[in-house]
């Protein structure tokens, strides 16, 4: 499934500056980057390094100040508008689950399909299927407030997967969870990714999480954000949590940690 090497997402001279109160913050320095179809790419870095900004630019939530982002051969922005032909291929999972409290879990998961005009029976059937896939079967009818943080994040993943997006963007999705839940969700995310075969861009500030999940890890340095180090992670899939004990794993972690300390 990960055999295609054509770039799926491409940054061409992308920059981002924010202006607020007459002060300009240089968030992301001129960046060129290719992300392969089917790749699991991790953006790693300290807070304020622009990793979330980069992800939000790919999601079409903020617009680059300069340069172009291509999804496949298409420009993400067309005439000042999000190019919906392209953005409909994007699934996004945020740091907060952002479930709508007025919808039951299954209706939250089915929301993207509802917006696409899929009829009710069909979309709810799909939602139940996805709830089972992400391990919250049996909670379809619950209100989001009745779920734990981990379960809400699972529901958010199910919602992002509901329309089979070909690119999945994840912004520190497990950042607010405890370590045990986090390990478990990392494993399940890998399983789901192997099954779905989508391209994943995953933002985190945890080195171990980055190395465990990524085919490739980009370490970003802050102010302005730029790519500092790029590491290919060679371990075969599916990876078990125990790869954390391998000397090679630890040497990659060590290398990233040293760089991280040097740049912050």
């Amino acid at each position: 499934m990960n055999n295609s090497s054509a770039p799926d997402i491409r940054f061409a001279g992308v920059e981002k500056r924010f202006t607020a109160d007459e002060r300009t913050v240089f968030a992301v320095d001129r960046t060129d980057l290719s992300i392969r179809a089917g790749e699991f790419l991790v953006l790693l870095g300290p807070s304020g390094c622009g990793k979330t900004t980069m992800l939000r630019m790919v999601a079409g939530l903020i617009r680059p100040s300069a340069g172009t982002i291509y999804i496949g051969p298409h420009d993400l922005w067309l005439g000042g508008q999000r190019n919906s032909a392209v953005t409909k291929e994007l699934g996004v999972v945020f740091q907060d689950a952002n479930l709508f409290p007025w919808y039951s879990v299954e209706r939250n998961v089915a929301l993207p399909l509802k917006l696409r005009g899929i009829d009710k029976e069909k979309r709810l059937a799909r939602a139940r299927e996805l709830c089972a896939l992400v391990g919250i079967g049996g909670f379809e009818g619950a209100w989001p407030r009745q779920l734990s943080g981990g379960m809400r994040q699972r529901a958010a993943i199910a919602r992002a997967l509901s329309y089979d997006p070909h690119i999945l963007l994840m912004d520190e999705p497990f950042g607010a969870l405890d370590a045990i839940t986090r390990d478990q969700l990392n494993l399940e995310l890998q399983r789901i990714w192997l099954k779905q075969g989508c391209t994943v861009v995953f933002v985190t500030h945890s080195i171990a999480e980055a190395v465990f999940l990524g085919d490739r890890v980009l370490l970003l340095s802050p102010r302005p954000g730029r790519i500092d180090t790029e590491i290919e992670v060679p371990f075969p899939r599916p990876r078990a949590t125990s790869i954390g004990n391998l000397a090679e794993f630890q040497s990659i972690v060590q290398r990233l940690r040293e760089r991280l300390e040097a740049i912050t």
């Binding site: 994007l90 996004v92 907060d96 952002n98 007025w102 917006l115």
Partner: protein
Amino acid sequence: MIWKIDRTRLITPALIVSFVLLWHFYVTWFGVSKFIIPPPLEVWDALVDLLTTPSTLRHTWATLYETIVGFVFASVVGVALGTVLGKTPWLERAINPFIVATQVVPKVALVPLFILWFGFGPESKVVVAAVLAFFPILTNTVLGVKSVDSGHRDVMTVLNANRWQNFLSLELPSSLPAVLAGMEVGIVLSIIGAVVGEYLGGATGLGYLLVASMNNYKVGMLFAVILLLTVIGFVLYLFIGGLRRLVIPWHESAAINSRAAMV
């Protein structure tokens, strides 16, 4: 456990009974004048008298009508204007001084003016009820519309939702709790508006009955009308609470309200 719940359930009736007893003994032992505080039994007699008098129904209906029509007016205009203001920040900034000004005017002071303009009939009372209920509904709607979660907005943007979808799936449900909270305050103010309007003009409604009782030194009747108004207020308030449970069952306030209503 069940025994414990049953016992706590008894507290409210027990409080009511002891209040009435305290009232009775206070009035009889200290020889309080009947024209200041009548004993409970006299109030009871007056209440029976009130409820068996055919004209009471007409008065109750008048007050209820003014309250509800005023409230519905306030709700429709308040929610519509609140939605527009909440979505148009520059307009809200421009109009805000006027809203604050009209809100700090003691609106009851405008009642004579409304009677002058709208006459002694039900119209002037409807206007008073509407004006009083309008502001909490308006301000809560503005607040509700403005406080849509930015994370939720991001979700809808990512899903390429159009304006109508944004309104139906996000903005409307998200602002409903605040709107209903405004309505809960509004309905109580509507009753006040209707009654105060009746004080000052006309010859119908429970407010008129209050003033008439006072002028005739029928203090027992005065108390009985107050009791009737309290019951009406309760019923209307519970109606909005029920609406809340029906419309926003997902919201914490619905759960809290159902607990309160169980008492």
